[in-house]
Amino acid sequence: MATQSATVGVKARTMTHRQGRSAGNQLAIHLALAVFVVFSFIPLILTLFMSFRSYGQVLVKFWALPNPWLWQNYVTAWNGVGVNILDSLGYCLASTVFTMALAAISGYVFGRHKFPGRDALFLVILALIMIPGILTLIPMYVLVTNIHLANTPLALILPWSSGGQVLGIFLVRSYIAGVPEEIFESARVDGAKEWDVFRYIGIPMSWPMLMTVGVLQMIGTYNDYIWPSLVINTPNLQPVALALWKYTSSYTISQMGPEFAAYVISAVPLIVLMAFGMRYFIQGATSGAIKL
């Protein structure tokens, strides 16, 4: 605390350009960052090359380019996990839309409405922070089995949405609470129904935050394999994250080419998502909305 107040005491001056950064320093920084980038890309590069090779090729000469390039690996991989990628897209999109809708409605109500018991009800949601996922995992598995949802898409979509909406409600609530009341009031004065106020003002106003909620939910659900491993046994219904695990463990090392090709194919939806939603992802990450 003492050091902080000492530095705050330094007289502030406005400077347009940060100084003290020589070209040599800059080069060193670039080099250091490049080293990190290269190392973090190794698994990706390895995956790309291996996806075109066969076990035989790798066994004969590990350090070589694919020869020949085995595009067939991708056909094999698609036949193995293609249906699961489509499954995943269906589950994750449904859950994402559902979560966004719930977050939009409840976030809006908590952020803009005044009604008896609002704070108490919000506390009920807030208290969920105290309940770790590990406590509910197995009882939820029993519940979903008991109500005969196991091996149906709802076994994934409903629990994912229920859990995902919590963060969304927090984000949307604080976001929309900052919008000036006049905008909503003018609509009400014009005689708009409450539902219309939500639809034509509430949703557009919270749209950037809703997109963040959606991108985070999409990434989170696409990557989940623990919960699906409990409730989806039917191979053709398994989301791709679970299917990749089962796919790899059901073959021996000799199938490594198609396995790597499957990893590449399964990355495509995330590549598309990141291409369009990168800035929402960054926004979510910097606002501390993603767990490490």
Partner: protein, 650 residues
Amino acid sequence: MRTPCLRWMAILIGMVLGGLVWLMPVMARAPAPMAVFRAHDVIYSVATPLSGRYVAVGSRDNVLSVLTPGGKVQWQYRAHNSVALVAVSPGGRYVAMADQDNNLFLFTRSGHLLWRRSLMTSPAGLAVTHGARLVAVTYPIVPLLDEYSRSGHSVRQVNLPAGGVSLATTASGSLFLVGGSNDTAYAVTPAGKNVWSYVTQGLINAVAISPHGHYAAVGSQDHHLSLLQGHGKLLWRHDFGHQVNGVAVSAHAREVAAATNNSDLIALFNQHGGLLWQLNTGQPNTSVALSASGALLAAGSQNHAAYLVAVPQAMAVYAQGKLTGKIMMAAVGLVVLAIIGLAWRQYQRSSVAQAWVGTILKHRTSYIMLLPTFALLLLFNYYPAVSGLYHSLYRWNPGAQSYFVGFHNFAKMAQDPFLLAGIPHILIMIFFGITLGGIGIPLLVAELMFHLRSSRWQYVYRVLFIVPLVIPAVAGLLIWENIYEPNVGLLNETLRALGFGALAHNWLGNPHLALAALIFMGFPFTNVIAILVFYAGLLAIPSELIDAARVDGAPLKTLIRNIHIPLLTGQFRFVLVTSVIGGLQAFGVQLVMTGGGPETSTFVPGLEMYYAATKYSEMGYSSAISVSMFLVILVLTVLQMKYVRSSASD
């Protein structure tokens, strides 16, 4: 002030409550569907004829006991050593037993000793065919099926492919089922012709065959009860998570019973593997028998007791338990209705209440809009949490009867070698998770990016560090599994290429290296979320502060130490809290890559919780583990909140 209406309501509630109090002991007084015979020592073996008219019990206290289905002793025979095996003829006229002095005995139904002869070695399997035409014995090591006649003469000795650890016969005696010591069950004719065989994955403990020979059951040390059809085709298997010591089948395998180790269960299944009934005896169970109709189940346990269960009545009691639940529900519903009625009466009189309801109605849109959120949260978040807390005190058998066991599940945790091994592992994982991937490298990278002059390059690096996220998490793990592969993995190939081939290892297969390999997997630990958090934190520092320090000639070191680090306190706390709370629960990596092995070298508590539920069906124990972790996390969360408040009030 009381009106007649109010009084009637009170009377109704009183009647319902009183009715419940009256009903409960009535239900508790339902006749016990089970007789218990207590020996002085462990029960080794039980047998019953097709009719189920009596039960023969062999125990370690050297006694052969023949009991009525009600548990009364009809006669006993005292041998000179423990009675290891008993068998009865299908029709019930003969009882055979073998003791641990290697003697074989044959009695009549009424206890008259017909003959006794000594065997070459200690027998492991004993079966009697109809009318005791054949009394057959197998041995654990000697690969012979020894057949004796009713008069006690050796009829023939048949060679088997392996020793027989268990033996069963059909009613006619046309087929013997031998549980071989080589993990294979053989169906052989009395002449020794092998009709079919079935290979299990673990040592066989017990075999049974239905009276007509159409079905067979095998209990094995790989924790499975397997039901086979006709020619050795597997119909279904049930995984008990512990050894299966005894099996039995009724006619046409309409009922299949198993006695199991450790999980202490005697379980009864229907033909399709659906659980009908089960009993928790508190000690490993050794043996089980069924009558042909499946109406009588006899089981022996290491707790010195033999259980004689009237199956239809036992199942009725189980159904009655469910009925009790329904009656309770109805009663609770009535009480709730009455309370609502009372409230309605009160409401009509009170203007305050009316005003309150008016307000609620005025704001009904808000409540209706929140309805979907709360419906989902109650069902999928709050209910499972409460259910987990509640059932951690139970031997929880979803779909069947559960038993209150107090803190037994929690006490069991202190003896669970997998769980105990997991605690230091998770602490190590969290420590390195924070120092490397949580704070160390991300802070360094964020500082490097922050000190780049070009904001375009800052953006480029940010994107580059995000790119690896497009690989699905599970694929990332599988790729690293391949990198660690001993023969063609990137790591060993690189070591060999650099001339360090001697350092090449089976990284995930070596108990001394596996945990380190899992920690190193994040290499180079450029955790992009943490990078973005720190980077945003740096950007949020007022530039006047930094520029002022620079003008005053503060070197970079001072700048970072005195301005960056103190002003990033919030970010540090966020990373610390999420790493610890998330890290304690994590087991996904171990689940995919090592399964906790080799040995227990990579086990973590979450994995033991997952396996307890999925592999061993110990839902209550699994819940106890998760409740314990919840409590640890709760304490940490409360501490953290307190810490935040105290630092905020500075």
